[in-house]
């Protein structure tokens, strides 16, 4: 059954002033929708978006549609994940729970993780994403991917894993409000991170390794 464009879990203006209403409206209704239209034609063989992404680069996708599935399957999964990892700043209690403990154990502090994540997001040349993932060995890793590649695409990405946090650094994600100042956008984005969702992502990803 074809996937549909999911509703945002909040209003288009919920992330103001850090991510602006116009950007959220265009990003959700135009960019995400566009990748969806091309995508639904090709995703019928897999059970879920996650499975489809995991199949990319693993010789499980027919060659003639491999690029379409990589770009649109990744774009659809990444954007759906991205909307859910953000919320209005008043709706989150900040880093907490198992994720906070794991981050402090791996990086020393949440601030140290942010520094590493920010560097990955700033250094991604061209279009792409920065990620905090749980690796196949159950370890937290900071990484970035080009274009719409997702960390689930184990056959093609440098550091595969299950995403816990993800930040879109395509210029369409920030250009209307921040223009060339990507580092400002990255810094502001931490204000709208949905830490409860991140903790759930972490528990689900780490739990499946135990």
């Amino acid at each position: 059954m074809p996937y549909s464009l999911p509703d945002l879990p909040y209003a288009y203006d919920a992330l103001e002033p850090f991510v602006d209403t116009q950007t959220m409206t265009l990003h959700h209704t135009k960019h995400h929708q566009a990748s969806h239209m091309a995508y639904i034609r090709e995703q019928r063989q897999q059970r879920s978006e996650q499975d489809l992404n995991r199949a990319v680069g693993a010789h499980k996708v027919p060659a003639d549609i491999a690029t379409t599935v990589r770009n649109n399957g990744g774009g659809h999964f990444n954007h759906t994940f991205f909307w859910e990892i953000m919320c209005n700043p008043s709706s989150t209690g900040g880093p907490a729970g198992e994720l906070k403990e794991a981050v402090e154990s791996a990086y020393g502090s949440v601030e140290a993780l942010k520094d590493k994540f920010n560097a990955a997001a700033a250094a991604r040349f061209g279009s792409g994403w920065a990620w905090l993932v749980v690796s196949p060995e159950g370890k937290l890793e900071v990484t970035s991917t080009p274009n719409q590649d997702s960390p689930l695409m184990a056959g093609i990405v440098d550091t595969p894993g299950t995403p816990v946090l993800g930040l879109d650094v395509w210029e369409h994600a920030y250009y209307l409000k921040y223009q060339n100042r990507r580092p400002e956008y990255i810094a502001a984005w931490w204000n709208v991170v949905n830490w409860e969702q991140a903790n759930q992502n972490y528990k689900a990803a780490a739990g499946s390794k135990m």
Partner: protein, 236 residues
């Protein structure tokens, strides 16, 4: 200054890039030349406003992005052997046969943007004439076929990148696309026209509507006189 002159010669287009590079290398003395600077625009910063590319876009695209590539490159090569080379030499050397070193992105983006500004004109648009028009007819099947191929190249470059019209190693015109900072010089061809399809090239003017940007570029912005000059230089 010497670097700027070398660059404009290079950007006129030549099929003999490697010979040129050898010549310019021989001509250079052993002293380290001054840092690279942002080349001037070939028209006022608001000159394309009425043709769909706003002054605001230029203020960011030329004043911030292009400048940042220049600044970042200067910082990266300070104190290295690369510092004594021309911008084109830095670009070709750091492309490193397809395994680019960290300086490549900045060097190539400096070259790409200079070439892009000089691909457009306030008097641009319309159809090509002269030798390049004949070559488009012969090599690409005519202007309409060129437009179709060039628009498709720009529209299908997924993520950030560029669309190109180049003279290939066999002396024939070809339309290609490249991701991020790569360009046809890296692969031995000689570009005569380029279109930037990074989102920063059009997002302030038309947001997500890249096809609108592409159509406007093809119909109203291409400096065909310049493209003709580049074609003649590349096929001499």
């Amino acid at each position: 200054m010497a670097a700027a002159l070398t660059q404009s010669k290079f950007l006129m287009g030549t099929a003999l890039v490697s010979k040129r590079l050898l010549a310019s290398r021989r001509a250079m003395d052993m002293t380290t030349r001054a840092a690279f600077t942002l080349p001037p625009l070939p028209y006022p910063i608001d000159a394309l406003e009425k043709k769909g590319m706003s002054k605001t876009t230029f203020e960011f695209h030329y004043g911030k992005h292009h400048q940042a590539y220049v600044t970042n490159l200067n910082n990266q090569i300070a104190g290295k052997d690369l510092e004594s080379l021309s911008i084109e030499e830095v670009m070709l050397k750091t492309f490193n046969g397809g395994k680019p070193t960290p300086e490549f992105n900045n060097a190539a983006q400096v070259v790409n943007h200079t070439f892009f500004w000089e691909s457009m004109s306030p008097n641009g648009g319309g159809k090509p004439s002269g030798k390049v028009a004949e070559a488009i007819e012969k090599d690409l099947g005519g202007y309409d076929k060129f437009v179709e191929a060039f628009k498709a190249a720009g529209a299908t470059q997924f993520g950030s990148g560029w669309a190109w019209l180049s003279v290939n190693k066999e002396g024939k015109l070809e339309v290609t696309k490249t991701p991020n900072a790569e360009n046809p010089w890296c692969y031995g061809a000689t570009p005569i026209l380029t279109m930037d399809v990074w989102e920063h090239a059009y997002y302030l003017d038309v947001q997500n509507r890249r096809p609108d940007f592409i159509t406007n570029f093809v119909d109203n912005l291409i400096d065909w006189d310049r493209v003709e000059q580049r074609y003649l230089a590349a096929t001499k």
